[in-house]
Symmetry: C2
Subunit: 345 residues, 2 copies
């Protein structure tokens, strides 16, 4: 085993707050020596990190559901990795873990920061490391609790999900199918739409890039929309609002169409459909469900095992590609959960 003191930790830090899309200029590239953990601490070698639309929000100043990343700080990211050194009895060298690693090769977690860093052991028999960033990780938990707790689907209802080929969307749609719903996805491009229907078993998928969201909703939701899981906001949210049923539930998970706006966010002009239809629009933040993650993981690992749930990760290799890889989320280039692989294994 390499002596820890010879290792160098390559890191990516937020150098400036972006205006619009986060270009390479907002990042700085730093190195630090790797140090031994102190009593109670753990040193994690990052295998891969999750790239998520929410990252864009963390880069802004101002109040949100989580503090913004400070200028000069290592960029926040959830990751999976391996314990390289441990002075904590709950973790042994070689353990596979999930952790808020940040965008860096090594993450030193202090003993009093174990819980806040989200460090926990993962069971690779339940899913692969990248699945632990996808359906068994934050996106999966977000989809599961957003759909089940906020949406409360009933068999036979029609569920629409945007970003259907993304990490959250693929989870939402597949769970909704398992629960007996009719599921219509919205995704960008014929390849993603075909995959969502053929591989994931959605009943239909509307290609928003061909500009036929309204017509697609009319065609594929003949009984209206009971649940809309919104990852995108903007015009698609308005189009769905125009087709909701009485007592519909709209889960606001994100609004990727608005995150890089340099103009004000576009509010949903059709929001009065909530009144007409006695419907509900409600936000979800996954952290609120942390004490029930283990239940959702167990349920979803079962679906992965029996083949009722599939997952797709879009894995890009190399820490240095982070700035450009992140942008794939915002132009819709990623196909499946976007993962940045940092170490070969």
């Amino acid at each position: 085993m390499t002596a820890l003191t010879t290792l160098v930790n390559h890191q990516i830090r937020l150098a400036a707050r972006p205006n619009g899309l986060p270009t390479r200029a907002v990042w700085s590239f730093t190195t630090e020596p790797v140090t031994e953990p102190e009593a109670g601490g753990v040193l994690v070698k990052t295998l891969a990190i999750s790239l998520d639309p929410a990252m864009r929000g963390w880069m802004n100043e101002g109040k949100s559901y989580i503090a913004p990343v400070g200028i000069g700080d290592v960029m926040r990211a959830g990751g999976v990795g391996t314990v390289l050194a441990s002075k904590n009895p709950a973790f042994a060298v070689g353990d596979a873990v999930s952790c808020g690693t940040g965008v860096q090769e090594y993450c030193l977690v202090a003993g009093d920061n174990i819980k806040a860093s989200g460090l926990f052991k993962i069971d690779l028999r339940l899913g692969t490391a990248t699945q632990w960033l996808n359906v068994l990780g934050m996106p999966g938990m977000t989809g599961y609790f957003g759909l089940m707790d906020v949406g409360q689907p009933r068999a036979g209802e029609t569920v629409v999900v945007s970003g259907a080929a993304g990490a959250v969307g693929q989870t939402v749609g597949q769970i909704a199918k398992i629960k007996g719903c009719r599921v219509v996805g919205i995704a960008g491009g014929p390849e993603k739409c075909a995959w969502v229907v053929r591989e994931l078993g959605f009943d239909a998928c509307i290609d928003y890039k061909n500009g036929e969201v309204k017509a697609g909703l009319k065609e594929h939701c003949p009984k209206g929309v009971d649940i809309y899981f919104d990852n995108v906001g903007g015009e698609i949210l308005d189009a769905v609002l125009a087709r909701i049923n009485r007592k519909a539930r709209i889960i606001i998970c994100g609004a990727i169409s608005q995150y890089n706006n340099t103009t004000p966010v576009k509010g949903p002009a059709n929001y009065l459909s909530l009144l007409v239809n006695r419907a509900r629009m409600e936000g979800i933040v996954v952290f609120d469900y942390a004490d029930r993650y283990h239940l959702a993981v167990a349920e979803m690992a079962g679906y992965l095992k029996d083949g009722r749930m599939k997952s797709r990760e879009d894995v890009i290799v190399g820490l240095d590609t982070f700035p450009e890889t992140l942008l794939k989320l915002f132009n819709g280039e990623n196909f499946g959960k976007l993962v940045l692989q940092i170490a070969p294994s």
Copy 2:
């Protein structure tokens, strides 16, 4: 008693769909002979009708929570009146009733239309006839069930209500006070604001006409906003969204600021505050609670009797003034529940 056949029924009908504010040109003025009810039917003499912001929506074509008023039809309105003739054993001549009378002097309700017309006897010991159009009528029911069922207030929470001096707003604020909440109103002009605080007992009232809604919310809601009962939409909704607490509830009852737009409705640009705060925005339509009106009426009549609830009606006399009187709602000129008195008693 006058022979029915000598009576003439003056009516106001919708002649054209308005574009923007409904001017006198959209109405036609007609007369019809009054006829005896047939078996099971009831003839009601209209004493007064309720003028409500919702009327503007009924004048538009297109799907809503209720069918639009047809061109050439007597304008829909809820009213109170007296039974003038009855061939229905449940109603006797002289009974005080509430009824969807429409904007006309006499309303003939057919036997098979009793329920759909909303005809029921009112007890003038519980409240005056105009209170039966206000706190004991549709606005009161809307405020009661919107606040209690959708909002679910808890003692100590902060409740904000717009249109605070209007029919729904005065009910909402007073119930919220009775339930132990801090209540902040939003109304137009110092006179209304002073009345809301001094007479109705709100903790504060923000005058939106002086342009200080944001500063007022900050000052008067130091612990943030837990419930917002929205009657107005537009910029005020956005200002409140910026100050909501975790798990806040926003009740969408109306959007009077948007009803006469000739441009698209302004959607709430700050709607992502729902996400950040895991908050909920939900529509209310009062008809859904019809089987519990009697419970709310009993509760509110108790508050009226013991002085914990006050009501204010702005009564304008004369059927012919209907077109101009209705406009008072949209320029904020009414002070209290707007009522059009049609007969002297």
